[in-house]
Each structure stands twice: as structure tokens, then as C-alpha cells.
Amino acid sequence: MQVSQFSYVAVLAFVIVGSIWLEVVLRTRVLVRPRRLTLTIIPVLAPFLLWDAYAISQGHWWFDESRILGLYLPGDIPVDELLFFIVIPFASVLTIEAVRSVKGWTVGDES
């Protein structure tokens, strides 16, 4: 395995590093709500992995095999993509909770 094969996951690491500090500094309290986070991410995976599999099968997009881990899900989806669809919703939730923490705006789940 080459170092370059971690290129894709390195970008995901950048996303995590860029957002996880909100949990501490803005007290977003996302990691202490794992059940809600899991129930948020699982239903997102289904349509987006289907979309990914379709796009890959139709040749809409493809990946440089020297820059991904080399493990695949059914539908020729790189495992890196599965991680993407976990990391991005997580970072998005951190962001909206960070904005709520600072601004106090209504999100819709207050009562």
C-alpha cells in the first residue's frame, strides 16, 4: 500500500480536524448524542450510496486508484466514499449546533 492511497481519507481528516474543535470550544454536544447522530447518518447513506453506485456505473465520475484505499463496497463504491457520507453529515451537524451555540437561533427542536 502506497502513502498516496491515503489522499482521499486525508481530505476527510481535514474536514474532521476543521470541525471537531467546535465540540469543545462551542460546546456543540453532538458526540454525547450518538443515538441521534446515528439515526441521522444511516438514512442519508442509502440514497447517496445508491446515487454514487449509479454515477460510478454510468461513468459520471471515477476515482484515481492510486489515491484511494483500494477497498470497495458492492456497486464498486470505494470505502472512502462511505466514510465521506459519514463525515460530511457529522461536520454539518457540528456546524449547525455551533451556530445555535453562538447565536441562539431557533432550529426547530426546542420543545
Partner: protein, 140 residues
């Protein structure tokens, strides 16, 4: 006429589906809330950086048959801007990203409304000397 749907077409449909989910299916109405649009503005800024890394470093490439712009070059990075590209990535990625973020946040709020890990709510930031126990929603 092409039988399969392009990235452009699926992207538009995904945005419509996410908005319908937010307004009618989960009834979270995030697209009517300031907190969503400010959050999305922050997220899309970082999306442009992240997508720029994915496409600029040629980790992922796109077919000109599926996007507004041309097929990704074999040896080099695509244009930074122009030919349907924004920060190296296809403009369609903005549709993809918006639908992914809206669906995720709508589900997050949906489960909170249903009482799943509704608390502890976020905030306050560590620099605020608010008394213990206070929650967000009072700083408007």
C-alpha cells in the same frame, strides 16, 4: 437523446427531493430558518476547499457527458474556474452538497423533535460566562 440521467439532472432532482423532505416529509422547515442558511454558508465555503482538494489533486474525475463542463483532463487538474467548474470541482457538486447537507440537518432536527437525544442542547461557547444550565435560544 440520452437514456441515463446526467449528474446535472440528478443534482437538481436531489435538491428538490431534499427540500420536499425538509418541508413535507420531516416538516423541519429548515429552509425557512436563518440558522440553516448561515450554517450552509459556512459549510459551502469549506465544501469549496474540500472539493478543490478532491478534484485539484485529481482524486476524483468527471465525465463531460454527465456535467456542464468538459471531462477532467487525464494528466492535469481541471480549470480552477470556468468550463462549468468552481474551485476545480463541477458546479453540480453544489447541488450534490446542498442536498446532502439539507437532508442530514433535516433528519438531525427531526429526531430531536421526536425526543431522541434532544438534550443536552448546544452552547454556550466556553468564553461566555452564562450561569450553568442555561441553554441556547435566549440570545436573540
Amino acid at each position: 437523446m440520452r437514456a441515463d440521467m446526467s449528474y446535472t439532472t440528478i443534482g437538481v432532482l436531489a435538491v428538490v427531493a431534499a427540500v420536499v423532505a425538509d418541508l413535507l416529509l420531516f416538516r423541519t422547515k429548515l429552509v425557512t430558518r436563518k440558522v440553516f442558511w448561515v450554517s450552509y454558508a459556512i459549510i459551502v465555503f469549506f465544501q469549496l476547499i474540500t472539493n478543490g482538494l478532491f478534484t485539484g489533486f485529481q482524486i476524483v474525475k468527471y465525465s463531460g457527458d454527465a456535467i456542464i463542463g468538459s471531462t477532467s483532463p487525464v494528466e492535469t487538474a481541471p480549470p480552477f474556474i470556468g468550463d462549468g467548474r468552481i474551485a476545480f470541482a463541477p458546479a453540480e457538486d453544489l447541488l450534490f452538497g446542498f442536498s446532502l447537507v439539507l437532508l442530514s440537518l433535516s433528519l438531525w432536527v427531526f429526531w430531536g423533535r421526536r425526543g431522541i437525544d434532544r438534550t443536552p442542547m448546544s452552547g454556550p461557547p466556553i468564553w461566555r460566562k452564562d450561569s450553568a444550565g442555561k441553554q441556547a435560544g435566549q440570545f436573540d
